[in-house]
Symmetry: C2
Subunit: 176 residues, 2 copies
């Protein structure tokens, strides 16, 4: 069955952004020619789901959403027309994931942000977590993990450390 996978980077103290959506800490681990396995990962994915604020951030940075091939779901409260391969989704996100998992296809990549990640965790919908820990304490910002989720057992699939100091941890969620 296709899996819902979280693939995200955070600081050692668990922030995915500094205040004001500042992602400049990611520059610390930018190394020419090093994608930390992203190319191999994205090849296993045909569907991407992300929160509306994360989407706006990407569009603002890049000019438009760069991926024209995959099915993209933007989770939002405000209805909008389809935009090419991008669907703005206002219904229940848990139901969406359960539907997608029942269809054939490649994996589903959750690209954040924190609000969406925590909603999906509350429903125990993630099958795998790939978390890249950037060697910095940010001290403040948007926490990847918020309180009020159910406990979930994990199994370590792999741990890979890179010269930049980034450590990428892969886990499989186990049990119910």
């Amino acid at each position: 069955m296709r899996k819902l996978i979280l693939y995200i980077a955070c600081s050692l103290d668990g922030y995915i952004a500094k205040p004001n959506d500042d992602l400049s800490f990611l520059d610390k681990v930018q190394v020419e020619g090093m994608d930390y396995g992203y190319h191999d990962f994205i090849a296993t994915v045909d569907t991407i789901i992300m929160g509306r604020r994360t989407y706006d951030w990407v569009v603002n940075e890049v000019g438009s959403f760069p991926d024209k091939e995959r099915d993209i779901y933007i989770i939002t409260r405000t209805a909008r027309e389809f935009l090419g391969n991008i669907q703005f989704y206002t219904e229940d996100v848990g139901a969406l994931i359960r539907q997608l998992k029942e269809k054939d296809g490649k994996n589903i990549f959750c690209d954040g942000g924190a609000q969406l990640v925590n909603s999906l965790m509350k429903e125990k919908l993630f099958d795998e977590l790939i978390i890249s820990i950037v060697p910095v304490l940010l001290g403040d910002g948007t926490k990847l993990f918020q309180d009020g989720r159910p406990e979930r057992d994990l199994e370590l699939i792999s741990s890979t450390s890179y010269d930049s100091g980034l450590v990428q941890l892969r886990y499989k969620a186990v049990g119910q």
Copy 2:
């Protein structure tokens, strides 16, 4: 110079305890004969500093504080007499660490809890962090890292993964 080192375990989502100081998640990585480097680490230490609640927890579990050899500082608001090698310290903890660092000696081990860790981080007093990530999402409890600390650059010293799924990350704090 002697270093202040944080040596602590947390869940992937950054909790050092579940609600009500429940540490049972550590049982997941309890393996006969495996101490995750603690013996080697503690051999480099002659001074331990911890918060009063953490101390009470240990005494409650074990019956008395098990380490009779090292200098132990319990950070508390309530003055108490020395108890053998244990000093109850009510003054400024940052000043204490700066004083200790100026004296000769082995390393200083900060054993938690979260309140003490975050106080020491606010003053950028840690020289090394050794964080053991237990493969579980706890979902709620006491977060190791609280908001409102200054940013601090880290350098990865090592990353070691164990059969139990525990990953131990060692970092050096760099710069000011």
